[in-house]
Amino acid sequence: MPQVTLSVNGKSHTVEVEGRTLLVELLRERLRLTGTHVGCDTSQCGACVVHIDGESVKSCTILALQADGTQVTTIEGLAKPDGTLHPMQEAFREYHALQCGFCTPGMVMAAIDLVQKHPAGLSEKEIREGLEGNLCRCTGYHNIVKAIAAAQDVMHGRRSELARAEAAE
């Protein structure tokens, strides 16, 4: 069987996979990183979004072999080793941007890429457009958008800490 060597959350792995194994299967079933979810079989829902070399992609739509030699980041790789959350994770908590939580890992990964690609900052409309690839059946998106708007200020160093949810109303 062919082998794939890739770095996941900073740790190098070499795994034998079948040619048809999807990246999401490698992450969940072989590396037991089950934070990356599978919510559909049509590549539509975005629950499976991870970063490959810093760019958000749907891991259900990529063969594991295609990720050979890349750096993959999953939701498990965001928090610091001491448990400090990434500002985006912190914002999702503060702004109550999740209910059942199924879409959340993909939302957070998509949101981080979106914010990183827009250093000048995103409007509410741009955030909503940027999330078109991620479906949430619970929240109605409102608090997700607010969380991302708050997190971008911290990620771009415009605020040292997250604006409190109440103050953002």
Binding site: R20, L22, D41, A110, G133
Partner: protein, 298 residues
Amino acid sequence: MAAAPYHRPETLEAALALLQDGAAPPIILAGGTDLYPAQAAAEAWMCPAPARRVLDISALSGLDGIEDRGEHHRIGARVTWAALRDATHLPAAFDGLRAAARQVGGAQVQNRATVLGNLCNASPAADGVPPLLALGAEVELASAARGTRRLPLAAFILGNRRTALAPDELALAVLVPRHGPGARGGFLKLGARSHLVISIAMVAGVIEVAAGRVAAARLAAGACSAVAQRLLAAEAAIVGRAADPPALAAAILPRHLGPLSPIDDVRATAAYRREAALVLLRRLVAGLAAPDRARVAA
């Protein structure tokens, strides 16, 4: 299912050699955003396609750029919708194609999906086809046995999911001829929501305005026939007229949409599609002729 071998060559020669296996040519994989969902759907309906060897073109050199070659721009087979979306330096004639790029599937799909994959997949609702028809694009194909050839896009896409691609051929690039400096492109699509939907109808156009008149126009509509169509009668109806947006919109009549043959399906009725195409086309033409040069994108 038996393990299907996977190839990821780095040279075109190696890729074309793999395609020469006439008995069982490998399936070409670009961004995979059409291939994987199709595979998953087949498995969900319990009729998985037989395992085929995979030829992944994502490591091929020389196919990843949008190059200005003077008489045309060359969009290589590895160019993603994201790359096209972000290519702000392209002339205004590309605005329609870039508007389509912004609306394909959402950011993650745009990061992987290629423009060429959209053409080779040949869906009647492929958003890349009307803008590239309006731009007068050609597709460049290559095989080990016969070298390269070029086909106008309209001759490349033959029908619903049918192209002129031979089993041993790889599509290398789409070539967009240079347009006049005043040329502006636009694209409008209608779907049940703004993204992640298959279009009910979409239209694209490239219009050149000179001395206050429409000097040239190329219009096309998609999702309203098995293959997206140029609308020659609609083009003829506006060329030579004063670039007055309301008058141009009014000049486009239902009978100008003759080549369209929309179907009834779960997304819309044929009559609704026809009406939607007319409304979108009028809006597009009016927008492209507007003096403020606002870019036309839904």
